[in-house]
């Protein structure tokens, strides 16, 4: 297993990229900043598996937590509300 690039607690940003094809980083999170809350493990890259390519290198998968007020400019709920999701390492970059 490759050592995870981002430890639990690391501030991360979902990369601002909008490629076509089968990607699992939701559009609404691109460019948004969150914090790694868990390292899930290493898995096959869905961007390869979706096209029948099964032998590629694995990617580390993380659970990332976001504040809802950071994602949605008009979020009406409390600032404590959060959203958590799983993001593959290729979609993460360090955030300040």
């Amino acid at each position: 297993m490759t050592a995870p690039r981002f430890p639990v607690g690391a501030p991360v940003r979902i990369r601002r990229a909008w490629p076509p094809g089968h990607v699992r980083a939701p559009w609404y999170l691109r460019g948004h900043r969150g914090e790694v809350c868990a390292v899930v493990g290493d898995f096959g890259n869905p961007e390869e598996l979706a096209y029948g390519r099964r032998d590629g290198a694995k990617l580390t998968l993380y659970r990332v937590r976001f504040r809802q007020t950071e994602i949605w400019p008009d979020y009406a709920g409390p600032t404590a509300d959060t959203l958590e999701t799983e993001i593959y390492e290729n979609w993460l970059e360090p955030a300040a």
Binding site: Y28, A76, D81
Partner: protein, 223 residues
Amino acid sequence: MSGDHDDDRHHDHGHGHDHPPGQKHPFQPDLEDSPLSHYQLLQMAVAELMIEKGVFTGEEFRRTLEDIDSRTPAAGARVVARAWIDPAFKARLLADTNKAAAELGIDAGTIPILTVENTPDTHNVIVCTLCSCYPRLLIGLPPDWYKSREYRSRVVREPRQVLAEFGTAIPDGMAVTVHDSTAELRYMVLPMRPAGSEGLDEAALAELVTRDCMVGVTLPKAP
């Protein structure tokens, strides 16, 4: 599926494959008095061809269908009820849900399920915005609304409003956490044990646990 081979409506298919009499016919049309849709025809043709080519057997097909039917929210409810009465089990459930379910004789499969716990501070709700990921082997097939455009679009952005549509009000003093199942995990909510349920046994507790409270759009039933 209704009907077995003694039902004489289906004796003259001419489909050319044999199976023991009395066994349910796997290719029975759903509505005998309507034409089959393109997609029903596609399903039936794919199934027949897969069996003829030996990709899977008719028996495997039947057993898989029975397995699908056997998966209901009752399994998840048992897991929740056990977690409510046994703190050590609850800890194991939160650490490894599939393994904990196996302690109760439930085969939750190999895709890892993560149980997220409701607390006095936090209410959890589950969605898959990109498709329909759902802990099927533990709580059965997802309802239509879970797969709908409306739920998938809105619950990440306005969870409290969506919960209100389900009759669930979360006070502002509690945080709402939405889990978007985008990748390898499936999620189940462990609701808080309802007030006033202290005297109930495990089976009675399980009766309070609905499918919807394990997705997080509602709370368990009151005792």
